[in-house]
């Protein structure tokens, strides 16, 4: 869109744009370019010899059982972290949307976990589920469940999913509540005249919420992919035996710990493609919302 009335300055707009563009070029485009550049190079561990290898790094990664394992972990993890908060949030939002007293109190009491850093959330859950000193962890062992997330990969994955989902419910709740409140009362009242509560929900309310649901699905996926590094780092460090190593976590361990520049850059490039896909999906949603 273009304005009819504008200011005539010739130099000023460039000066106004300069800080943002400088940061964008130095810290976004240049590193992203470097990632692509390194992803087609093979470097020995001492950095003495570099060779151009076309797509060799990608071939190595995509046939590496460890990488494919990490893909599987990421799929399970992100599906759970997308679905759990959405389910819980939808339930709470439907309950809070009824004409009940104290809706705004409930809203406040359910929204603050958004502000807790993922890594701090992890430390809270660790304190509860620690096998020796945690209130629940200890109890599970007392009743004979053999709870130790440092030994069992499944338990570790469950714990990171819980800790990551916990703080994401707030966000989903606020958006579902906003979505529900946008549905005209008369529609719901008319439907509930001749259908039960369950049917009203599944055949009227839920379909009307579907754009919101889709939007939250994408947002939760982005969160699960990129913002949960702190949770995994603090709780399990990707272990035991890589059971909780997601793709982002693997970029970090391969690049920062194992100093495999080519491999980690190739993984970064793959992740960039994933983000571009997710962002495109998100914008398709917004476009549709505009057309409504």
């Amino acid at each position: 869109m273009r304005r009819r009335v504008i200011f005539p300055n010739k130099v000023l707009p460039y000066l106004l744009l300069a800080p943002q563009l400088a940061i964008t070029v130095v810290f976004f485009f240049w590193p992203a370019g470097q990632a692509i550049y390194y992803s087609v190079l093979l470097q020995d561990p001492f950095g003495l010899h570099t060779e151009f290898v076309w797509l060799e790094n990608f071939r190595i990664i995509l046939t590496d059982p460890l990488y494919l394992g990490s893909v599987q972990v990421t799929v399970i993890f992100s599906t759970a972290v997308a679905a759990l908060p959405m389910g819980a949030a939808l339930l709470f939002a439907v309950m809070a949307d009824r004409k009940i007293r104290g809706t705004h109190v409930y809203r406040m009491l359910l929204m603050w976990p958004y502000a807790v850093a993922p890594a701090v959330a992890a430390s809270l859950w660790l304190f509860i589920f620690h096998p020796d000193i945690g209130v629940i962890g200890r109890w599970l062992n007392d009743v004979g469940m053999h709870w130790d997330y440092k030994l069992s990969g499944n338990q570790a994955l469950l714990l990171v999913i819980l800790a990551a989902s916990w703080k994401q419910v707030s966000y989903n709740f606020l958006f579902f509540l906003a979505g529900l409140q946008a549905i005209p009362r008369s529609v719901i009242e008319a439907a509930s005249m001749d259908a039960g509560l369950g049917r009203t929900f599944w055949s009227i309310i839920f379909p009307l919420l579907s754009p919101m649901t889709f939007f939250l699905l994408v947002v939760n996926m982005v969160y699960a992919f990129f913002d949960t590094f702190g949770v995994i780092y603090a709780l399990t460090g990707g272990g035991p035996a890589k059971a909780t190593e997601t793709l982002i976590y693997k970029v970090y361990t391969d690049g920062v710990m194992n100093l495999d520049l080519g491999g980690s850059s190739a993984q970064s490039v793959i992740l960039m493609v994933v983000v571009i896909g997710l962002t495109a999906l998100q914008f398709r949603f917004i476009e549709r919302k505009v057309h409504y």
Binding site: R2, L12, I23, Y106, V116, I133, V135, L174, A178, A234
Partner: protein
């Protein structure tokens, strides 16, 4: 109006109260844990009611951060670092985004849309996917262990720029025309008209960005190698270390509570702006 059935009136309250309890559960134990001594927690039979070591624990965490089995920086240093990081990121992002949006919306110049798209595309390059090369750039610039290194690379913001541009498009042409006739130049118009008109958007964005900055993890983890530069979120994870049972959990939980307090307070006391910001930044 039909009166609602009796069963309807208590179910929502029941479900919501259960939700609130489950949500508050981890926080409750963190608070309790921060009032006992390390030995009590290490027995694995921590009482479910507060103990008598609250002041000792918080004092020790704030002033030294180091206990019998935990060595860390004083939490007041970590809090200061987090505060600086969150404020610089929030203010910086808003400042550079509002001026670039102003440039794109109120001027016409060669490559205008090209620059706009350049900013837009950064949405697709989150720091997590370019960790290592970005880290290298920051090292080459000598910005490791500095506040500049912690904040500047995170300051570019496509979201904020898009938001402000959206807001500016609603400013009617007549207002611009009138200002020009009154002899106001571009800068004066910005200070006296555009900035006051964007006040509510700035407040909403500030709340969201403050939380974003405070909760950063991966980036400060890479950039801070000196303990005195760590943020509180990093500090707490380093305190946990290998998460042994025999560690100063009382200090760790006191630190966790202190780490949560500022952003949670911001959300609760600036609730209105928070919700507005959350919904606006996703448009």
């Amino acid at each position: 109006m039909a009166t609602p059935k009796r069963s309807e009136s208590w179910i929502p309250h029941f479900v919501l109260i259960m939700g609130v309890v489950v949500f508050a559960f981890p926080i409750y134990f963190a608070l309790i844990g921060s009032t006992h001594d390390a030995a009590t927690i290490a027995t694995g039979r921590m009482p479910l009611l507060p103990g008598g070591h609250m002041l000792d624990n918080y004092w020790q965490a704030l002033t030294s951060g180091t206990g019998f089995r935990v060595s860390g920086s004083p939490v007041r240093t970590l809090l200061l670092n987090s505060l600086v990081m969150a404020l610089v990121i929030a203010v910086g992002k808003i400042a550079i985004s509002i001026i670039s949006a102003y440039a794109v919306a109120f001027f016409n110049f060669p490559l205008r849309m090209f620059f706009f798209w350049m900013i837009f595309v950064t949405l697709m390059l989150p720091v997590e996917v370019r960790i290592i090369p970005t880290y290298k750039v920051v090292t080459d610039l000598g910005m490791i262990n500095t506040y500049a290194g912690l904040t500047v690379p995170l300051i570019a913001s496509a979201t904020a720029t898009l938001l402000f541009r959206q807001v500016f498009l609603t400013i009617p042409d007549e207002l611009v025309e009138a200002a020009k006739i009154d002899g106001a130049g571009a800068l004066r118009f910005f200070w006296q008209i555009v900035l006051p008109l964007s006040r509510t958007n700035i407040a909403a964005l500030f709340v969201i960005l403050f939380i974003y900055g405070w909760n950063q993890y991966l980036w400060p983890l890479l950039i801070t190698t000196s303990r005195s530069m760590e943020t509180i979120v990093i500090g707490i994870v380093k305190m946990i270390g290998t998460s042994e049972a025999q560690t100063d959990w009382n200090l760790i939980m006191a630190t966790a509570v202190l780490a949560m307090l500022p952003p949670v307070a911001v959300v609760i006391f600036m609730q209105h702006w928070f919700v507005k910001g959350l919904i606006e930044t996703e448009k």
